[in-house]
């Protein structure tokens, strides 16, 4: 859940495609990274609609504040009612979970599951995509890179594999628009090569010259019938008050 939100808010695709001799994949990854580091603070409302095959539909609303200058973010839960007031705060290496019922902060370990979701603390680390992944090449040393049509949209399709071993998915396939490198579709594979998740980036909005995917669909390919729709609204770039990224702020919200 949070993994999705974070990925979503992190991926702000640049308008201008880059170019790098030798590799066609790396420039696109670099372009994503270049825009990953947000120059301004940002806040947004996020809504997740989770559909589970055996559990029905659940809607989760939250407010998200992010400041990359000191690697900080804050998530406050707005719905459902039993989650309202809970939150997550990260400043630098420290990551806390706040529970309004007990009014306590708990350190979240690097690989600890967050709120029973599939997200872990390490998913929130701001590491560069180009450092984590590199292009997949075939036996002749050529990158697996092709030009295709995704519906009516001309796209590049390319495969990337993990350079490090502590990423969620060791192999992914990206479909990006040829004209502006917007990521439209993403398939994620497990270590054994099983397709685990397909993501569709359905709708974008332009904020200060950058495209932000404001509607995404994540389909669980492993457990059929599970899917999550993420919608982002009220995106406000601009300086956020220092007091937001504090424990006191999170505590006061639930009073």
């Amino acid at each position: 859940m949070f993994k999705i939100i974070f990925a979503l808010l992190a991926i702000v695709i640049a308008l201008a495609p880059g170019y790098c001799a030798g590799s066609r994949v790396i420039p696109i990854l670099d372009a994503i990274d270049a825009n990953y580091k947000m120059k301004k603070d940002v806040s947004a409302k996020v809504s997740l609609t989770q559909q589970r095959a055996e559990q029905g539909t659940k809607i989760i609303d939250m407010t998200y504040f992010r400041r990359d200058s000191d690697d900080a973010f804050l998530i406050t839960m707005d719905a459902p009612e039993n989650e309202k007031g809970n939150g997550y705060l990260r400043v630098g290496d420290n990551f806390w979970m706040y529970r309004k019922n007990t009014r306590t902060f708990q350190h979240v370990n690097r690989d600890e599951s967050i709120g029973g979701s599939d997200a872990h603390s390490e998913d929130f680390e701001t590491r560069k995509l180009a450092e984590l992944y590199g292009p997949v090449v075939d036996s002749s040393g050529t990158e697996k890179f092709s030009e295709e049509m995704l519906g009516k949209v001309p796209v590049y399709r390319f495969e990337i594999k993990a350079r490090v071993n502590d990423v969620d998915y060791p192999r992914q396939i990206f479909w990006t628009r040829r004209d502006n490198n917007l990521l439209l579709k993403q398939e994620s594979y497990s270590l054994s090569g099983t397709l685990m998740q397909t993501a569709y980036f359905l709708k974008f909005t332009e904020i200060e010259g950058r495209f932000v995917p404001v509607k995404q669909l994540f389909i669980d390919e492993f457990e059929k019938g599970n899917k999550t729709i993420v919608e982002i609204s009220d995106i406000v770039p601009g300086k956020l008050d220092d007091k937001i990224f504090t424990k006191a702020y999170l505590e006061n919200l639930s009073k």
Partner: protein
């Protein structure tokens, strides 16, 4: 001898009363023997059937880079060296369990994937215990070794029912491997087992090497180690202390060669601790020549002494190529880093030392453990009391020993707070990790002791009352035997011997009764499905473990209490003046 004869004859003189009192004692002894055997049975189940499989009697746990799930130690041989030569260790097993999401036939549920080493030689006793704990209703343990089947597993009957799978069906599972990567696999059900322990129902057994491969372990790496030992209650703590002592870490050193613009030179690569206090001390003891401490203290920060920088032909911002021999792989490791700061040689920990932030250093060090210093190379040592001894990254972080669950819990909270960059090693015993199970055993023992105390009180009242009545009835007889020459001590001893023999015979009958009762109760079969108390059963039966020391101790205690109780009325009888006793009418 005369006294013994007299005592035995006197017992027969008051048959009805003695039989009644003896019966009460016998029932008491029977209850005591049964309770004692049940209590020992519970202990045996706790220590040798539950703890053995859940936590081990002693555990050596690892968490690499502060990761809760990242239970890996990169040098298995070195770890085994630390537990070698300990005669109390019966077995040392890698304990690997991984939560997974499983999809069966139209149903999905959570499972725990546990690695099991079926090729390991087991004693007949251990094999019997395994078969008692995990009763296979379909398939055999050898089936999980079948290389022709895709990931063969043995699953509990309850989980198989829930997932709607049978033998030869396939379960798809999704889990995160040790490094957090999503992993998916297909498991083939080759066996179905039953277990009375409700907590073992989610467990799915997979052959250990396959599980390790799925989780990302290399052959020379190990998961946490679970030790089963002899007489765990006596040996666990001392053994854990000894292993802890042997696992004290040295400084983590990479003996490498570094290449810059001016050529390649042998270097020693060390990690520096990157906590605020250490960084402050390092900044205080080094003199910056170029670059900045701000950059040097970042995760990929690298510090080089000025002399080495000149020799390599590098300056702040330059790239350095590092190559070193790996301990377990043939090919050397090649890596690149960028110089963040160049410092003067004075106060620096060595003229050929490259310092890296421990975060980046451990990435390199753990991923490819370096070989030793090699022939002719002097091993690096910062000196025990040197300024740098506390600032350099150790091979691992050895957590302090704790002795109860509270301390243990605090220790793991510290891990989360401290964000160790290195691997933490924790040596613990069942007294820290499974105190809840041990508390259950203590509660059961308290219940047994309470029953015994009530029993003793009843016996005590019975003996005192009977002796008082006997003495009152036999006062004139006491006067007569005293008048014809029997000494006071003999009179007292005669009464005590009567009590002793009555208790002895009653105890013998009680033991027979107790063993018969245990046998009969053991024949009853219980089916405690989904009941946690089911773990206290063996094959659906209550488990009694009579011990010679336990039973002999109980009988001796009862005899001692009866004799001590008899002492006072017997002494009163012996002290009666013969003339007064002869005058007694009652």
């Amino acid at each position: 001898m005369l006294l013994i004869r007299l005592s035995l004859r006197n017992l027969l003189r008051q048959k009805r009363r003695n039989i009644l009192l003896g019966s009460a004692m016998a029932i008491g002894v029977a209850i005591l023997v049964t309770a004692n055997s049940f209590s020992h049975g519970i202990s045996d189940i706790m220590f040798n059937k539950i703890m053995r499989y859940v936590t081990g009697h002693v555990a050596i746990r690892f968490n690499e880079r502060g990761g809760v799930m990242r239970e890996i130690f990169r040098d298995k041989a070195r770890l085994l060296e630390a537990v070698k030569g300990e005669p109390v260790i019966e077995s040392a097993d890698e304990a690997i369990g991984m939560f997974a999401r499983a999809i069966g036939n139209g149903r999905s549920d959570n499972i725990v994937l546990v690695g099991v080493d079926t090729k390991k030689g087991l004693s007949e006793k251990a094999r019997r215990e395994v078969e008692e704990s995990f009763r296979l209703v379909e398939g055999s343990w050898k089936d999980v070794e079948n290389a022709a089947i895709e990931n063969p597993v043995i699953i509990s009957a309850e989980k198989a029912r829930y997932l709607n799978v049978r033998r030869n069906d396939v379960i798809r599972v999704r889990f995160r491997n040790m490094f957090g990567q999503d992993q998916a696999a297909r498991l083939t059900v080759v066996g179905i087992m039953k277990n009375d322990n409700i907590f073992m129902q989610p467990v799915v057994f997979l052959e250990l090497p396959r599980e390790k491969e799925l989780l990302g372990y290399r052959p020379y790496e190990t998961a946490s180690l679970s030790l089963k030992i002899k007489d765990p209650q006596k040996n666990a703590t001392a053994l854990a202390d000894r292993i802890h002592e042997r696992l004290k870490p040295g400084t983590a050193v990479i003996y490498a060669s570094a290449a810059g613009g001016a050529g390649r030179r042998p270097v020693v690569v060390l990690g520096y601790k990157s906590d605020d206090e250490s960084k402050k001390k390092i900044a205080g003891s080094l003199k910056l020549v170029s670059g900045s401490f701000e950059k040097a203290f970042k995760k990929d920060g690298v510090i080089v002494p000025a002399g080495l920088a000149r020799a390599l032909g590098v300056s702040a911002g330059s790239a350095i190529g590092i190559r070193y021999a790996r301990k377990f792989e043939k090919e050397p490791k090649e890596a690149f880093c960028h110089v963040s700061a160049v410092c003067a040689g004075s106060g620096y920990p060595g003229e050929n030392v490259i310092l890296m932030n421990d975060s980046g250093f451990y990435d390199l060090y753990y991923e490819d453990l370096p070989a030793g210093p090699g022939r002719g190379v002097k091993p690096y040592s910062p000196g025990e009391n040197g300024a740098w001894s506390g600032l350099l990254a150790p091979e691992w972080v050895l957590l302090k020993r704790t002795f109860n669950t509270e301390e243990y819990r605090k220790k793991y909270q510290e891990i989360a707070r401290n964000k160790w960059k290195g691997t933490t090693i924790d040596v613990s015993t069942m007294y820290e990790t499974a105190s809840d199970i041990l508390k259950l055993e203590s509660v059961l023992k308290i219940i047994t002791i309470s029953a015994v105390l009530v029993l003793f009180f009843i016996i005590l009242l019975g003996v005192v009352n009977t002796l008082r009545m006997t003495i009152r009835e036999r006062t004139r007889e006491i006067g007569t035997v005293r008048a014809i020459g029997m000494q006071r001590a003999d009179v007292r001893n005669m009464f005590i011997l009567e009590t002793f023999f009555l208790t002895l015979f009653s105890s013998a009958a009680g033991m027979a009764l107790g063993f018969t009762a245990m046998r009969l109760i053991s024949l009853l079969t219980f089916h405690p499905q989904d009941n946690p108390l089911g773990m206290l059963l063996v094959n659906g039966h209550l488990y009694f473990l009579p011990t010679f020391s336990g039973i002999a101790g109980s009988v001796l205690l009862i005899i001692a209490i009866a004799v001590i109780t008899a002492w006072f009325p017997a002494r009163r009888a012996a002290n009666l003046p013969p003339a007064q006793a002869l005058r007694h009418f009652g």
